[in-house]
Symmetry: none
Subunit: 209 residues, 4 copies
DNA sequence: AATGAATGAGCTTTCATTCAT
DNA sequence: TATGAATGAAAGCTCATTCAT
């Protein structure tokens, strides 16, 4: 009731709705969330949702798109184009983790909700989610390609992107249990783990891919 | 149609139902899947599902439990108790990836579905899912603890477990796109990546956590 | 069809629904009645019933409350506060019988349905039904307390209330078989029977309780 | 498990089933009670119920019949054919109340459950219930007809029968709240109340029926 | 621009009832 | 005689979606 105002311009209302929808979707999941809940959380009535975003799927699509864009922008903004590749990867990963830490709900909607296939989530939505993975993949690729010696394959880069996403997922779970963790420490940990693992296994498994 | 027989003993039917449910849940997700679909896929009628498993959630619970057990058994069977820690980790990871590769649907239900949706899944189910993560964590911990020098913290071990899960997720996506990949090559890749990453970043980031 | 209009305000529709529900409940009983039937009888669709009254039990509760209120009001309106106790009892009983005669279906729902079935009826509903009995009990008590000599115990008053309800039940059955009966004649009969019974048994059973 | 025996003669099994059914029906009501519950309470399997009594309605019918018979026998046995009419009424009423007190569950099934019309309860069942009312009515009639002066009409007698049933209903409710009450005291109370009422109202309402 | 009123379709769940052994 | 296995039918309830104002 507090923020419920009449006659707001369309753009503002739409953003309010998406904000509310992300909150609701992240809490209940796409199917459990009801349009009623979303409308309520946005402080408006159900028909407004349909007038503005067309359908429940439309609402979800809008959420995915907006948050994917925000995440990409954040990562890109953190990466200085002229920096050294390692530096760019480092900055990009940290920005990525930071975004996930700061926008837990967005990440949940973006990464965890959008997976189940055979859904009303159109291919379009699936692709939006992919753009994020691709961005990270590209970051990894560019960080290694320039260097001599260790050219990384596309496949390996994709694996690394997924690993990063896995770490991000872990991060979302920890923010509740370990409030002392920060994105920076997580980035450090991940790198550090790679180092440790490398030292251990290098002799044991001589060649790798 | 081939094996579909009437009047099967309870135990058999129950397993058939769980098999079918995993298939359906992995395709549509918990909420989108309907009990009717599951019954149809199992070649029986809806009431049987309720008579044997009690409720839709009961069906899901049964799936999670059975597959978690199978996965754990598989991993444990692969790990020779007397082998060297590194060897044990290597064998365990490979068995893990192999299971995921051989049982894509089970993994999707076990890992993706159980996270996605809100809260209807009882604590018991949540814990079943955790047992898998814990097993991997334990494997990592034991593989590093015995060695001098690089004692890994619990937190780091958990991160590694999540990373492994992330890699497993990646695996499930690849089986469709890259049929030439095998669990063994994936295991190699992951280890190799760690090595590469370590070489790259060791000088850049001296200490890590 | 005559009054069936679309887009009625909530209050009106709600009353229509309760009217219909009383009709249906009195005919089929709580459990046999289906929400679909009720909706049909009210000329609306099932979901409206749930939007407005929440659940089948909610519908029943609403019926009980409204009719209990109406019955109590009717009885109270008939009893002049300043009249003599006997006069008040007489007037109250007659109003009570009149209500039952005029609202057979309400009485059936109020008295017969609410007793029959197990426990799904919340305590609240049970109490609503009790209020009716208590009103009659109070009437009886006040009609006898003021007089010297024959103070009636609470227990006796409760028995009398039940007896009155039994008579009311009889009335509902007669309205089909004996259309010539009126509430007034019934009231007379009941009183008359008491007189006759008293004359007969006074010598036979000297003391009573 | 304790009483579950195999190969019992049909007659015994049937009675066991009816015993169990009365228990279940009185607790949950006809519609809420499930055949499964009844079978369980009887210590047998569902198909047995159908083999012996044909259908759920058949079970209910059987209960009604048996208990109506038992009640009628009890009342008839208590009434000495050669006693004075007042004495016969007194004895009959007391036996009636005693039966209700001793067989609360039977009375609930017999009187409270069987009312809702439009039920699967065939006319036959309805008539069984009526036989009880008629027996009491007859008792009242015979107790007054023989006496000079106060011939009671059939209608009045029916009203009295219903009143007695109302009192019996009250009795069932009291057995839980007032364990000190006995059928005999209730009989006394009812008679006593009639006397009191008569004294009060005779002068006030000169005419009666 | 905004909403209260209304619904078609579908879901989970239950139950009386039968079949095959 | 006795029962585990199995189901058709229907009920309660919810939800995405539209209409009329």
């Amino acid at each position: 009731m507090s923020t419920k105002q009449r006659r707001l311009p369309r753009e503002v209302r739409e953003q309010q709705m998406i904000d509310a929808a992300i909150r609701v979707f992240s809490r209940s999941g796409y199917h459990s969330a009801s349009v009623e809940e979303i409308a309520e959380a946005a402080g408006i009535s159900k028909p407004m949702v349909y007038i503005y975003l067309g359908s429940k799927e439309g609402v979800f699509t809008a959420c995915i798109h907006r948050e994917a864009d925000r995440l990409l922008e954040t990562v890109r903004a953190a990466v200085e184009p002229d920096a050294a590749p390692e530096q760019r990867l480092w900055a990009g990963l940290q920005a990525f983790f930071q975004f996930v830490a700061d926008n837990r709900e967005s990440w949940i909607v973006l990464y965890q909700q959008a997976r189940t296939e055979g859904e009303p989530f159109s291919t379009e939505v699936f692709q939006a989610r992919c753009r994020v993975m691709e961005e990270i993949t590209a970051l990894v690729v560019s960080s290694t390609r320039s260097t001599e010696g260790g050219l990384i394959s596309e496949t390996d880069a994709e694996i690394l992107a997924h690993i990063a996403a896995g770490a991000a997922d872990a991060l979302t779970d920890w923010l509740l249990a370990h409030p002392e963790e920060t994105p920076e420490t997580l980035t450090r940990r991940v790198i550090g783990l790679a180092v440790t693992a490398a030292r251990r296994h290098t002799p044991a498994e001589p060649a790798g891919a």
